[in-house]
Amino acid sequence: MSFIISIITFASINIISVLGVFLITGMAGLFSLGQASFMAIGAYIAGILVIKLGFPFPIAIIIAVISGIIFGLIVGLPTMRLRRDYIALVTFGFGEAIIAILNNTVSVTGGAMGLSGIPKHTTIWLAIGSMVFCIFLVINFKYSKFGRQCMALKSDELAAKSIGINVVKVKLITFLFASALTSYAGVLYGFYTTYIDPNFFGWTHSAEWIIIVFFGGVNSLTGTVFSAIVLGTLPEILRFASEWRIFIYCTIVILIINFRPAGIFGEYELNIKTFKSDIKNLFKKINSKSEIVTKG
């Protein structure tokens, strides 16, 4: 039972952080290879506040998320004017720099030994509740002016500017929102595992998230959540094959790029409207099949 609870909790936390990557990569078409470092920022700041300074947990969450946004501003403000490939480079450098800082400030963060003794405040209900709430926020974001502007600038930046979209501002807002979500996921993670070490938050983790988003479908939130659940829990279930994880991921990426470049779900979103029409189509299919059978 506790195994299942831990899988569900990790999956929920994973979904929250992947939502951040969905915003950056799926909506705005940017690549952040340092996104995991925002998770580290959230986890470490909240952890240190609670352990060393005795802050209550809720206040630590708020401070950690705000610091995530501030760090996002530090990275985003100068880089969002750059070309997409440079944004990937800069965020990569930023992420690795954060890891290096965490490794070297031993007195505060515990260095490579990690930060241990964090109280276990994250329950499964907090994790699931947070996940549902974050999905709610991201859905609303997608169907607001911000989401539409993101899609526009991803598709054609020049045309987006020509209709009056302040491209840099929209990108920055998206990036900050993603930073806030990811650092919140970091807080939940730290207060669930009770132990964090810097190397967990390296760029491979960010890259994994990007793979998850592409696997599910770049334009589909449904797909992203789906693949976050599947790819996020697979390694937990297949513990015995943990060395094969990277290999499995690479195989998946190659298969996806070859056979379904738009991801499993493509642009499909699950909501009441599409759900109804799906059910209708399903019935039609069943009917037409049974007709064939009766005719035959």
Partner: protein, 253 residues
């Protein structure tokens, strides 16, 4: 009433190639003028300079007497210069209606909090701009296709959608880059009607680039002729048609 658009001897070089040399023009409010010239004459460059994609090397561009040389592209759009592109640039991930709504989004005033928590203000503004966008689609006759993907529309309709999107920026001046290129004769007639309608009913000033003489002669009040970045002639349609310099540029000697 503003003073319209005034371009004072602008020049632009690309690595030593003089794309535009001391080009000047004036577009009165409610005016409709065109720029013509052979391929590579610098017509589109002039458009890109006015709409802020490139910055001018020298000269000034005045909108209602206000210098917009150094402004960002999106700011220039917000001052009231809308444009379309020669090779259509629609947003692929969005449907026809949302392509137009996005143009209104750039102006709609609600913040992140309103958006993520679905505040009443957000819902009100979104439904307002939806109605306005439907009106824009209706103007160009695309309201029935609002849920289509733009890339599935025929070429002529894509061009109309681009105009609808430019209208949604609520421009005072509309720049149309080769609006009638690639259309069949009946579509062209349709198109001329549309531009006339925009010009007369909505009182827009229009500046367009065009190769089809039928469109140019029928619509323009004044024509500028460019060749290798230089203005070789300007005047009323009937003067331009008989101008030997222009004929030479087009036909060779």
């Amino acid at each position: 009433m503003g003073k319209g658009l005034e371009v004072k001897s602008i020049s632009k070089n690309f690595d030593g190639v003089k794309a535009v040399k001391k080009f000047s023009m004036k577009l009165q409010p409610k005016g409709i003028i065109s720029i013509i010239g052979p391929n590579g004459a610098g017509k589109t460059t002039v458009f890109n300079l006015i709409s802020g994609i490139y910055k001018v090397d020298e000269g000034e561009i005045l909108l209602d007497g206000f210098n917009i040389n150094k402004k960002e592209q999106y700011e220039i759009t917000r001052y009231g210069i809308g444009r379309t592109f020669q090779n259509i640039r629609l947003f692929k991930g969005l449907n026809v209606l949302k392509n137009v709504i996005t143009a209104y989004d750039a102006y709609s005033k609600y913040n992140m909090f309103d958006a993520t928590f679905l505040s009443r203000r957000k819902r009100r503004i979104d439904s307002e701009i939806r109605d306005k966008s439907l009106y824009c689609l209706k103007l160009v006759g695309l309201e029935k296709l609002k849920d289509e993907k733009p890339e599935n529309l025929p070429y002529g309709l894509q061009k109309k959608l681009e105009i609808a999107r430019a209208l949604a920026t609520e421009p005072k001046i509309l720049l149309l880059d080769e609006p009638a290129t690639g259309l069949n004769p009946s579509e062209v007639v349709d198109y001329i009607d549309l531009i006339c309608k925009l010009h007369e009913d909505m009182e827009l000033s229009i500046l367009f680039i065009e190769h089809r003489m039928q469109v140019v002669i029928e619509l323009s009040e004044w024509i500028y002729v460019l060749d290798f970045g230089e203005t070789i002639a300007e005047g009323k349609p009937e003067d331009i048609r008989n101008n030997p310099e222009v004929i030479k540029a087009y036909m060779g000697e």
